[in-house]
């Protein structure tokens, strides 16, 4: 099993993050070092570090698992 970083649900593109959380770019930035590679889990709606693991993991590029 991979980490959040490799998961298809993990969104860490800075532009997408700033669009997802209005106000984030007002006094900070998704392009800042302080964010590291953290991102949003679009499945669980959590803001996560990239190194976590999870039973909901689905590798990038794989067909989605049935719900």
């Amino acid at each position: 099993m991979g980490t959040c970083f490799d998961c298809r649900h993990f969104v860490n593109d800075p532009r997408q993050l700033e669009l997802s959380i209005p106000g984030l770019n007002t006094l900070s930035s998704a392009y800042a070092s302080v964010r590291g590679e953290s991102g949003l889990c679009s499945r669980l709606d959590l803001f996560l570090a990239p190194g976590g693991d999870c039973p909901n993991f689905e590798r990038e590029g794989e067909a989605p698992l049935a719900d």
Binding site: L19, T26, Y31, D53
Partner: protein
């Protein structure tokens, strides 16, 4: 139903344990060209070196390029028009220079040039207008300080005119303030960092810990809110605003909603403080160094704090002292420790909260990954320029170095700050901010009140004698 079919959140928190493998390195060396902190260092140090080379070769090009209408003291529109008609070529050249260095770097970071360029041109033209307002001879009488005017006009534009979202590509608040901070380092005596840094660190740590604990305890114990929300709001209010919230949200695996709530509270209170602190400081007639230290203790974000400190410094007639006090307290006293806070909360989340919920095994490298790298640029620029100017006598410094090297760098720094202050307003769309809810609002607000009062007491009464001596420029 497969093991993957449970509802989001349910199985995750029941079954997930700390990862057995440490988190992988975020982006490795790519960070050097994908993060704005590094670009701020390259631009700040690069501009400083170019200015130094020009100065050493007797060229006045950088000095001419650093033009701004802020010091005109014009009393009629004719004077202002005359200034622009005489210098239109230099302003166009300056705009192109900013456009190239910011445009190329943002493109490499992944921001579309087709969005950045038109947005930045508008930002530049608005910035000229802000400088021009500040250069009016009667501006100080009406408190028309460029940082405050830029913020308010930006807010009005963003909330009255429906600016398209893509324009945010050019309104890079953090990138501009970080570049300005590195340029500030080039005029900041390193001796001041060494002598005042430990006191700033002590005061900032005392207040940060107190504020964080107050917000966390009120949120969780009084209002019964989730501890992750308490942690995200606590660090947002105590350490570094939205950046602090973001770092801790990922360290503890907070809900997106928690981060959004904290972002909203930080933005709203930071805007209030930009206006509140300078005018309260003025009513007390505070020394600008003391007021700068207070702003550094009680503002949430670098960009907002520089706006407040710069505005009050101008009101009090010593902008350097206010900015020095703020920088020591916020950049050195608080910003540098964001990674450590993040690591501590990750430890708490994993080893204490893990019993009930989930988390990711903490990694001490987090402290470096989340370190605000632009601070390195501030130190390097300060050390470098202090060493370069140490060889000049006081007389030569005042006659040659200050007008030929220091003031052009200060002017370029002021441009970067004005881009930032305008961008704060232009990116704040109140209707997009989340309704925080009364409990989070009151928990955060109680923390703000404690922070502001404790910050005032420490800055004015406990360490006031120390902060009131600030304001000496490089070379003295």
């Amino acid at each position: 139903m497969s093991e993957h079919a449970a509802k989001p959140g349910a199985d995750y928190c029941e079954t997930k344990t700390c990862a057995e493998t440490p988190p992988k390195a975020p982006m490795g060396w790519k960070e050097l060209y994908l993060k704005e902190d590094w670009w701020a260092i390259y631009l700040g140090i690069g501009i400083t070196i170019v200015a130094l080379i020009a100065f050493l070769n007797g060229s006045t090009f950088v000095k001419a390029l650093a033009i701004n209408p802020g010091g005109l003291k014009w009393s009629s529109l004719g004077q202002l028009a005359d200034h622009f008609s005489k210098n239109i070529g230099m302003y166009i050249l300056q705009m192109i220079s900013w456009l190239v260095i910011f445009g190329v770097s943002t493109r490499i970071m992944g921001i579309k040039s087709s969005e950045f360029i038109p947005s930045f041109i508008i930002l530049y033209l608005l910035s000229i207008a802000m400088f021009a307002i500040g250069g009016w001879v009667n501006a100080p009488k009406y408190n028309l300080e460029p940082p405050l005017v830029a913020l308010i006009i930006g807010l009005i534009i963003a909330n009255v005119i429906p600016l398209p979202k893509w324009m945010d590509a050019g309104f890079r608040v953090e990138y501009y303030i970080k570049t300005g901070i590195v340029l500030l380092g080039a005029t900041f005596p390193i001796a001041l960092v060494v002598s005042a840094g430990p006191i700033a660190l002590f005061q900032a740590t005392l207040i940060s810990v107190t504020t964080c604990v107050v917000i966390y305890m009120v949120a969780t114990k009084v209002f019964g809110l989730d501890k992750r929300l308490g942690a995200v709001m606590g660090t947002g209010g105590a350490v570094c605003g939205v950046s602090g919230s973001m770092a801790i949200a990922s360290a503890v695996g907070a809900k997106k909603d928690y981060l959004y709530t904290s972002v909203t509270l930080v933005v709203v209170w930071a805007l209030v403080m930009i206006l509140f602190i300078p005018f309260v400081a003025k009513s007390f007639g505070l020394n600008p160094g003391i007021a700068g230290a207070w702003v550094g203790t009680s503002e949430f974000a670098d960009a907002a704090g520089f706006a407040a400190a710069s505005a009050y410094g101008r009101m009090a007639g010593n902008e350097d002292a206010a900015i020095q006090g703020f920088t020591l307290m916020k950049v050195i006293g608080r910003d540098m420790w964001i990674g450590i806070w993040s690591f501590i909360f990750a430890l708490i989340a994993c080893f204490k909260w893990e019993k009930e919920e989930c988390g990711t095994r903490p990694n001490a490298m987090e402290i470096w990954w989340r370190f605000p790298k632009f601070v390195i640029g501030f130190f390097v620029a300060s050390f470098f320029m202090t060493a370069i100017t140490a060889g000049y006598s006081s007389a030569d410094f005042g006659k040659l170095v200050k007008p030929g090297l220091i003031l052009p760098i200060v002017s370029l720094r002021t441009w970067a700050f004005i881009f930032c202050f305008l961008s704060i307003g232009l990116t704040t769309r109140f209707k997009e901010l989340k309704s925080a809810g009364l409990k989070p609002f009151f928990a955060f607000t109680i923390g703000v009140i404690v922070n502001v009062m404790l910050g005032f007491i420490l800055s004015v009464y406990v360490f006031g004698g120390h902060w009131s001596t600030l304001g000496a420029p490089l070379g003295k």
